[in-house]
């Protein structure tokens, strides 16, 4: 059967590359870094066969910069990296936020800080994804937990980037990046694929940052629309401005375009949430342990439930508040020393909030989570 033919055993990083191709990515610029390198390796072989372009750059900064260039030229563009490379890319990410250039940045998280633990998993870049570059800026980050989901979330990341003219991060960790699972490649048309809005006005009327739009259409370089792109605060025509009103309005619109569309950007998995008294909030590969722990707790008669974030940024505060309103405790397992747990504390009043943290390069086990669930049972 046709459907069965498309079932494949695939590594997470390969699924990311395939998801990107499905989403229409035709430009990739990257630099080797463990544990993300396979994304580049697969795309170096696959992109030329679909008329796309793969470039290996001389470093991480060059990679994000070329990705921005590729996107401005009109191609859906992506780069992939891991911790130290993500640190080096931050200025470019800020530029893409400011200049509103759609692009996808994959960060396969490994232990840190610094060179850290290149071959071990971690979830310690989640706050860096939000605040790594300087200045106020919106951020969208998706956090797949399964190989199949790396494929679909990479597609969604491209859709969000194109729709909201913003960099979107795909955050997963070494575990799912290197894990091999059976996945089904969707048929063309099965998943939604969004292309960026192009201007309908004649070139002489085009304003790349037209304040009348929440998300102004983006003209590709080379189609007759001449416009200015800069990382400086700019006016609606893209040229730099010192006007306090325009600076403020420009910054606020950047935040607004994400804030106003959170319902569209958010994506969660609810697991036994309706009557959950002990809530686990989790994301990425850790959520696989959390899901198992919740099921085991249910078998023991404990009313546990899992809220799994597939969109970590913007933070899913609404779903969290709703689920937490019925819970006596919120447990936040994460492979770091306490990052998202503080975000949860910020939004949850009433229930106890307890983190489970691990930074030894080993995954958080279901047993670790069950132990805490039982304490609040």
């Amino acid at each position: 059967m046709a459907g069965e033919k498309k079932k494949r055993l695939m590594q997470g990083n390969e699924a990311c590359a395939e998801g990107a191709l499905y989403a229409g990515c035709r430009f990739y610029a990257g630099y080797p870094i463990t544990p993300s390198t396979e994304v580049a390796e697969v795309l170096s072989a696959r992109l030329p066969t679909v008329g796309g372009k793969f470039i290996q750059m001389e470093d991480e900064i060059a990679s994000i910069s070329a990705t921005i260039g590729g996107s401005l030229a009109g191609l859906k563009s992506m780069t992939a990296t891991s911790g130290p490379g993500f640190s080096l890319k931050q200025e470019g990410i800020g530029f893409a936020c400011m200049a509103e250039v759609p692009c996808v940045i994959v960060n396969v998280m490994r232990g840190g800080p610094s060179t850290g633990y290149p071959t071990g998993p971690s979830q310690s870049d989640v706050m860096q994804a939000k605040w790594g570059t300087h200045g106020d800026h919106p951020v969208i980050a998706v956090t797949p937990a399964y190989v199949q989901e790396i494929f679909s979330e990479t597609v969604r990341a491209f859709n969000l980037a194109e729709k909201y003219r913003t960099p979107v991060m795909v955050l997963y960790d070494e575990i799912v990046g290197h894990m091999r699972e059976a996945i089904t490649i969707p048929e063309a048309g099965e998943l939604e694929v969004v292309d960026r809005a192009k201007p309908e006005c004649p070139p002489e009327e085009y304003l790349p940052y037209d304040q009348r739009y929440e998300i102004p259409p983006l003209a590709p370089f080379g189609e007759g629309y001449r416009f200015h792109v800069t990382g400086l605060n700019h006016k609606d025509d893209g040229f730099p401005t010192n006007d306090p009103g325009m600076i403020e309005e420009g910054n606020k619109r950047l935040l607004r375009k994400i804030e106003n569309n959170k319902e569209d950007i958010w994506c969660n998995e609810d697991y036994y949430l309706d009557d959950a008294e002990v809530l686990v909030f989790s994301f990425g590969s850790t959520a696989r342990s959390a899901r198992f722990a919740v099921r085991k707790a249910r078998e023991k008669g404990i009313k546990a439930g899992l809220l799994r974030a597939l969109t970590l940024w913007p933070f899913p505060d609404k779903a969290l508040k709703d689920a937490a309103s019925r819970a006596r405790a919120v447990i936040v397992p994460e492979m770091n020393l306490g990052q998202i747990v503080e975000e949860v504390q910020r939004h949850v009043a009433g229930p106890a909030v307890e983190g489970i943290h691990r930074v030894d390069g080993e995954p958080i086990t279901p047993a670790q989570i069950i132990e805490v669930i039982e304490r609040y049972a």
Partner: protein, 311 residues
Amino acid sequence: MATLKELSAREELFSGGHRLCAGCGIPPIMRLLLRSAGAPVVATTATGCLEVGTTIYPYTSWRISWIHSAFENSAATISGIESAYRSLKKKGKIAADKDIKFLALGGDGGTYDIGFQALSGALERGHDFLYVCYDNGAYMNTGIQRSSATPLGSATTTSPAGSAHPGKGQWRKDLTRIVVAHNIPYAAQASPHNWRDLAKKAEKAFNTEGPTFLNVVSPCPLGWYSKPELSIETAKLAVDTCYWPLYEVEDGILKVNYKPREKKPIEEWLKLQGRFKHLFKEENRWLLEETQKRIDSEWERLLEMDGKRVF
């Protein structure tokens, strides 16, 4: 220069038992290098095979002061160390006549690519240090990705040979020539098969005041798909085919240190390595010819400059 007997009598500062691959070119380079210093050495090493393979906890191969900073900043880190020592000497906290050698190490990825800016900056500022690049022609530590040192036509995991491309599409960056353009007092190319030439160059570089540079070809059985037991022969063929000429530029004067009596065709070097296997297919013949042509013209250019002032 120290004789082989003298060199062998010196303390081994790079210990065995490391995890570098069988047939890796790096260990013989490092052993000879440290033996040639003749004074205490402080070394920085960029992320890469050398760093990973020699420092897996709880072991280290380094019987010297050694620091791994990051991928892009070996030359910048040694700049800070060398400057601090200079300051400490000025303050009298280290005896003014105490001789300490500063050594920065990196592979071709950490030198030609991501560390290039740091290298150029350190050379321009004129720190008193030696930079040694072990050039194995790709990012071997992360699994054989192309670098700007990778030869034309080489298959790597990011320049795979297939129907769309016959391996890497660009000629390698001539880093030694770029380094020479920084007008530093000493720069040279060397190979581990010619221990006498390498030791002599290391000794000269260590004992020259100001920034010095050695680019050393380093066979990699893993990434070259070559036989580990043939590594030294493979290095020798890189030189005998004039792919990797042994030369030095001392105070602006270029000297070719070795002229093969009989220059071998490049195919002899290429055929030992699986990364070039596809070049021997009929449709890729032109790439072999282009490679030979380019090597010939670069070798001729080098011979024309032999004995002359190049800056």
